[in-house]
Symmetry: C2
Subunit: 280 residues, 2 copies
Amino acid sequence: METISSWTSFGGKLSVHQHDSELCQCPMQFAVYTPPQVTAGSTEKVPVIWYLSGLTCNWSNVMEKSGLQRIAAKLGVMIIAPDTSPRGDDVPNDDAYDLGQGAGFYLSATQEPWSTHFHMDRYLVEELSALVFKEFAGDADRQGIMGHSMGGHGALTLHLKHPETFRSVSALSPIASPAQVPWGEKAFTTYLGDDRSQWSDYDATELVGKQPSKAHILVDTGDADPFLEEQLRPALFIDACQKAGQSLNYRIQPGYDHSYWFIASVIEDHLEHHAAILKG
Amino acid sequence: METISSWTSFGGKLSVHQHDSELCQCPMQFAVYTPPQVTAGSTEKVPVIWYLSGLTCNWSNVMEKSGLQRIAAKLGVMIIAPDTSPRGDDVPNDDAYDLGQGAGFYLSATQEPWSTHFHMDRYLVEELSALVFKEFAGDADRQGIMGHSMGGHGALTLHLKHPETFRSVSALSPIASPAQVPWGEKAFTTYLGDDRSQWSDYDATELVGKQPSKAHILVDTGDADPFLEEQLRPALFIDACQKAGQSLNYRIQPGYDHSYWFIASVIEDHLEHHAAILKG
């Protein structure tokens, strides 16, 4: 692991790293916010919250625009911000913003040419996780996961499949039923093929119906989000949670759109939601 | 005035506007953060804090990266973020990042070809100010001014020259004696000419010696700032304030550099400093 950059931020440290990923078959970058409780010399490990970004993003969007370091410093939690896909000249890509590099959709591709590199779910849970808990003072027994848009899809599905690993979960403007909306149909067809039975493992709405978790899920979506009706479709996920008995607080926030102006406005509630569970 | 963009942010509104500037002889953009106290329908005017950005920046840097909307919402103050220079194909420029467009230095140029467009100090105090108080619910009797780097120079000098207008002042990593450092010598020579007697009106260290204000000045600079010794030189300003009897709290913050990671980490203290004076 190579450290690319490091800055003091809210008394803690924001650092950016690169490592060679076996699962993604390329160098991968990620950022870590280490809270001041650790940088001041405490040897106690701190809870970790994974933040999964949306289409086109990398580690920088949330770190530059959400203001979450302030809250992580206050709560004493570590933040891990991975990239959204494999990247590089040797990695397949597509001209569209919603496919290929920057659009990994937190799944393991089975279709060529994607299946060589696109394994973001296993990369996070197996490879990056092992690296992070070896190199940083995060507590592997106290992990939460959250994300925005495509990353909200990633957070919900990874929590539902690994509820003992990711004990707390929340999402911002998530694509909570990708199998039923254009963004997800395009990505799943491309990465997983036409057989829709292969998609259900990556659809939070389907997953929650089969295996609801014991966690309380927090979701925020803005009512001025231009993707609300076509791509996000909150009602699908809300209905599935009700039927499955999944504990859920899905808030529709008036006036907000899909941007980081929205994320910054509500993210404090999310980090406090995670910290209450992980530190409780 | 044309509204280019508008977003809900922390319950208030962030909006970006463009107007044709007579003083700068070009279209100029600026952003306004209107706190929720106003957007919720209160007819009471709120205090205004001007935020002047540094080299290469425009309105977006502080709004995207500092997190100050959260604090402005809490305190009920309006933020105005102007551009750092005239811009456009018809405006003179230079290949260097520290001259021409993005590097207006909050002065009125006297040298050709700059003197046609570069009048950022008068633009702010005369033209943009008139527009803002006509169009928005800011209280012209309760204005503060702050800025970063080149904008810290702008905030300090505009306060010292207009202490009744900008009643509160603070600066982040300011160029507080541009006449004595490379960034300022280059800009002042270019915009104002070789006669150094014409520079003193734009040098906070010289100004404070001649006309200290009754305000308490707050300044923060990081001790890991790569520009500290050559361009910022805190001691010059601290000494001048002591000699002139200017009330000053100049804090050197351990570990921080010149970036928005630093600004975000300390800006809450600055907005609270302004609000305490303007709302007191």
